[in-house]
Symmetry: C3
Subunit: 340 residues, 3 copies
């Protein structure tokens, strides 16, 4: 694609030769002739000076001796450039002969059902949705239009997914919540989990992530939220819109996570707590209680990030502090014996 | 079902109108006419006062202007009420035409084998067990009666599961333990894992949880224990009966976990240690050594919970402590120079 | 097998009766007549004195009243003995009738494709490789010779695996990396992940471990590295040769892990950092920045292990330190008032 056409499609300001042809995108280090790359931050300017890319997407104020596409959000323009230049292959519509689609299920126009995929009774799959190999949809599942379920993803009975939902490989939606009542002998009895899961529009769920069904009502993931791999979402959790969670986050039952929240990798969140809109937790934080909207927390138990950073610096010096305290005590004892 | 019949079936004391009909269970917030809810703790009394539920299961001493089912263990009665009012649909017995059952395998009476499920050579499936879509049982597997394996669950060759075992979606039983011997060049050589896994009666294993086979003998999960999602059980681990582990717990090889142990989410346990009966570990704790029976531990490395709580409070104040220590040192220096 | 033959095959020095027959291997506790066990460390000598094993593999300097196989690396000899005495059953070559192999795919000599397995378009499977039940290989995948993919493992489009690669059950290779660009309204837009994953020779990937594909170039796992279960490898990560990671480790995007690195269970590593060759991180460590070659780190944020151990000892005493500091302050205040 010619750079001037790409500039128009990406809503970027063209600086330099618009007649250059770009066929692919690539990282600064690997890019070569015919490839488009991007510079999102000034710290990458040194690398950008040596790239062999044919053209670059840049933020305003960045100047380089290349054809440039200037935009206030280079990362977003880059995302769109990738989609334009590397369109994902569309699986052909139709049901593979080895798939098992229940006679009472309904498939919208253009749906692809791959080898070994299973669609349960009364389940409805929206137009344009793709079920890759060995995907399993249980009975009474509702799937919106243009969903993309990668191989091995599973959606249990009665769960509802909106439009354009993406499930990565092996994701599990609607497994039983972890609910057991203990009797007087210390034995656990299962509380049947008769609720469901609702995944709103434009959500992406990572590989091998589990979203448990509620005991009674519903577990809900809000519109546009993005969950990475190997995450655990407990029963009756609700997650607001536009929230992101990195890999291996775990959220215990009945917790409410707000909108635009960011949870870094391996964060753990207790059950029955509230995480306010826009809150951020750094990696491995343990959120044992409510977190205020907009707060940035770290550590276990979680505390404000600046406090945690300062306390962690002192933690490393604890043996020294202990020695200094002992010396002070000794000096004081000597002073007192002198002054007596 | 009439409330007086339900009271009899749940062994509860009926207080109020036994002629009320209840058809479903629901949480206090969502319950409406014809629905049964429960009040387990006095802290939910305010919510209970506003619920539209037709009747409530309550502990003795709780009084509300509703028909009530009174029992010392409301949570357990509620679990039974859910099972009574929401019986799980029984998949029809039989083998789906797309399933692959080895000719030498044996299936008990009433077994259901779903689409795409695979049953290996010489494998035996007990009466009434259900294998949902794409479940895989390897060769020489033994599965007891009335087991329930959700879609995508996998049991490797030679593993044995007792009666009424539940595997949630994507659970893996019998993957190879992580055992490698290092040679003089620093290269790792696999130690073939020729042991197996034994899962005793009434165990439930969560979605995407892995229980590794032993190198030589067996990995064992004790009767009635309940494991949540995304848990790692290393090779040759043994877990006693009636133990519960929340999501994302990891237990390294050869560790022995006792009976009635509770491990909260994301707890890590070292290899070759012993966790005593009835021990409790709070979320994200790192159990680096043995834990005494009945102990309640927290933190990494784990310590008694009350000590950890108190130390964590001081941790947050470390920068302040450091400043106070410096002031004390300075004051002392001034005192000494004065007294000289 | 006669012990003298086994000694020759394992390159061990025979001490005692070479005519003894050993048929199996077993742990010291469980071993009986006809079984071989091993003593790797002097701490197991007491146990070894009571074992009923027919013969033992031992390190030089260990003396026991049994036929012995002496070698400087007993653990490695034991690994080989297991492989010799317990050869894994070879699945018969051929494609199960319920498998789906795309007409444009190519299968090498002796390949086994199990029930329900799926092989995509243009995908090449090397000679002797085994795809167990319900394995899914996407389009344009390259798999070397003698690979072993356990049931439910999945390899996405365009990924390349070398020779003798082992994937445990449910492992996912090539799921989309977690890349989203945020617009001015706080909504996230997917950055199509058009890179791939390269797994070099002799790598083993654990059950339910996810290795994400790169956004643009490749994610790479180096020759001979061994990854345990439930691990997350982010996009564009590179891992050097002969590195081991225990279960539930998580590595964020673009991080470079060196050769012969050891990451214990539940370690988290930030994105865009470098972990030097031979570095070691203890369980649950949080590696927030670069780690020098050969360093041994612990804690979050990670610090040198000896420092962390010492600081952790003092951490447990923080309430006591706080009390001592207060007493010092009070004593000092009294002294000053006295001296005034």
């Amino acid at each position: 694609m010619r750079l001037d056409e790409l500039a128009a499609r990406l809503d970027c300001r063209l600086r330099g030769d618009g007649g250059v042809d770009v066929a692919r995108v690539a990282a600064l280090e690997q890019a070569g002739p015919g490839e488009l790359s991007f510079v999102a931050a000034k710290k990458h300017l040194a690398l950008a000076a040596t790239t062999r890319a044919a053209a670059l997407i840049v933020a305003p104020g960045i100047d380089l001796p290349k054809p440039l596409l200037e935009t206030p959000n280079p990362y977003l323009a880059f995302a769109r450039a990738v989609a334009l230049l590397h369109p994902a292959p569309r699986p052909v519509p139709g049901v593979h002969p080895s798939a098992s689609v229940h006679p009472s299920a309904s498939l919208g126009a253009g749906v692809h059902v791959g080898p070994g995929a299973v669609v349960g009774a009364r389940t409805r799959v929206g137009a344009g949705s793709v079920l890759h190999a060995n995907v399993v949809l249980g009975d009474d599942v509702e799937l919106g239009d243009d969903c993309l379920l990668h191989s091995g993803a599973q959606v249990r009975e009665g769960c509802r997914l909106g439009q354009r939902v993406v499930l990565q490989n092996g994701a599990v939606i609607g497994s039983d919540g972890f609910g057991f009542a203990r009797d007087d002998d210390g034995r656990y009895h299962k509380i049947p989990q008769v609720g469901s899961v609702v995944i709103e529009d434009d959500v992406e769920i990572g590989a091998l992530t589990a979203v448990d069904r509620a005991a009674l009502h519903e577990t809900r993931i809000g519109r546009g939220s993005k969950l990475d791999n190997l995450i655990q979402i407990g029963h009756s959790v609700s997650v607001g819109p536009d929230t992101v969670m990195a890999a291996q986050v775990g959220i215990a039952g009945s917790t409410r996570v707000g909108a635009r929240v960011t949870l870094a990798g391996q964060v753990g969140v207790n059950g029955h707590v509230q995480i306010g809109d826009g809150a951020i937790a750094s990696g491995q934080a343990g959120l044992t209680g409510d977190v205020a909207p907009g707060a940035f927390v770290s550590g276990t138990p979680a505390m404000p990030n600046p406090d945690w950073r300062r306390a962690s610096v002192v933690f490393a010096k604890l043996p020294e502090l202990q020695r200094r305290l002992r010396r002070v005590e000794e000096a004081l004892a000597r002073l007192r014996s002198t002054s007596e």
